[in-house]
Amino acid sequence: MAKAKLSMRERYRLLTRDLDWEPTYVDPKKVYPYTRYEGIKIHDWDAWDDPFRLTIDSYCKYQAEKDKKLYAVIDGFAQGQGHLSLTDARYVNSLKLFLQGVTPLEYQAHRHFGYLARHLDGPGARFAALCQSIDELRHTQTEIHTISQYNKYYGGLHNWSRMHDRVWYLSVPKSFFDDGLSAGPFEFLTAISFSFEYFLTNLLFVPFMSGASFNGDLATMTFGFSAQSDESRHMTLGLEVLKFMLEQDEDNVPIIQDWVDKWFWRGYRLLGLVAAMMDYMLPRKIMSWKEAFELYLEQQMLEGLFPDLEYYGIRPPRHVEQAITEKEYMSHQVYWILYQFSFAASFNTTVPTDEELDWMSGAYPETFDRFYRPLWERARRLEEEGNRFFFRGLPMLCQTCQIPMGFSEPGDPSTLSIRTSQFRGERFNFCSDGCKWIFDREPEKYVQAWLPVHQIYQGNCGGTTIPEVLNWYGIQDGVDNGEYLTSPDKANWDKWHTGAVVGGA
């Protein structure tokens, strides 16, 4: 006689509760040694609930289906010379920045969720972490497959793993994630699962994947959406874990508030790279950074999520008003940095076209024509005179976010913001009140920051001249870096689109 199929709820309970046991001959505190020292108090791990109620069979079934679909599209992309149907080769630069920055983070996430799958006390939480660990490995793989498609035709992607450990702008995502990895498990969950994957993920992925679709990049759109389908699970975990910690003990609230504050600003600064991509690196724009910020952060999060969290005594993140002020100009400040330092980057930058400048005037009526259009017009004149503008030197870096200190005083784009702290008699510099506040909370941690500029000056980066450092980065001078208009990417693209017979690359 066939048994009636168990309900989702029942199957999930059997998997996550029935297969678990209480250790008896070893002290549970020794089995799970890392879940107490952060000060978070958990009284009942059984109160953990995963709304997805995934079980091994359905997890495997759907992940296999997602992969099958994805790799079929990537194959089709390769066979159909999909890279030729992009809006423009310039688009690939946004992809380079994204794949160089994000792929290694996926792998780090895979590793750390594997660690949590062992070290969280509750079986439900461990199982959610296990699924996420496998998901993140899948994301790493799909991104590497996408890299390998583009690497056949475009510069800059051949050395992404080494670059992540060495190159100055990639130290921004790397140091962000290292900060989370080196924290305790609960802070990591707040940092990555809540702040990054719930609070900020829509700003990071959704506009970017839509941008890929809009710019003819089927491969990226597909890996992106495939990853995002897992991401909705990760988002849920992020919100669940936060509520779980808040509900377990009132003493957890101030600790979590501090983490929400810290990881909002950390994540927001990292998103500066996304802001620059959206406004400058997509030849066809989907929406401006400002619009995306208003929709995803102000409307969905500040008006939607935070009233919910207020119930637990959590207020909106510290320094969020500064982010709101910055929406009028942040993308311009970040791309201006990338433009003048792209001689040391593994992607190309260029002055926006006239249509783009006009689009920006419309999208940023308060700031663009007043502050940024004159800069771009001058940069274009210099380029046309054969004197492409580069910052001939190395920049001052923020000790916390590690971005060159190109951010301004809030609301005043023409004055650079510089904050400092003294610790053990040494001076440290920051781009903003947010980054200074984060440092001042844990100076012992951030004094260890591997700041690319200072490392070059200490002689730890292959030499002290630009060619030596580029060589150490694995960036081929004149191929991967610098101005787009004179780049091999642009020359190849023009050759492929002249209507002449295309043979080989």
Binding site: P395, M396, Y457
Partner: protein, 106 residues
């Protein structure tokens, strides 16, 4: 607040002055020129005179902007305080300090 850890958490700074020997890191900002997205960072000998620092390091950097006129740099400040930049003082004696900031306007 300090770092929460399961062990004694105490590590040296990665950019502590000793690592730079007779040199130091110094930042320079051209305050009223938005062409430069940020201040610049230099490694310079502590004993170098300010005049040499300016002509050998600051001027070539500032010349990234072809309109830069070295004689026009004025209103110098050191860590936000007015500073008479024509002096022959060594960098160490300017009081800028390791990772400190000079700024000027034109």
């Amino acid at each position: 607040m300090t770092v929460k850890a399961l062990y004694d958490y105490n590590y040296p700074s990665k950019d502590r002055p000793e690592l730079f020997g007779d040199d130091m890191l110094v930042h320079v900002m051209w305050a009223n020129n938005m062409m430069f997205c940020s201040a610049a960072c230099f490694r310079a000998p502590k004993a170098m005179s300010f005049a040499d620092f300016k002509s050998q390091m600051v001027d070539p950097w500032a010349a990234s902007d072809p309109d830069y006129d070295p004689s026009s740099a004025r209103e110098w400040q050191v860590n936000g305080e007015p500073f008479g930049a024509d002096s022959d003082v060594s960098l160490a004696d300017t009081g800028v300090g390791h990772k400190g900031l000079f700024s000027f306007r034109t």
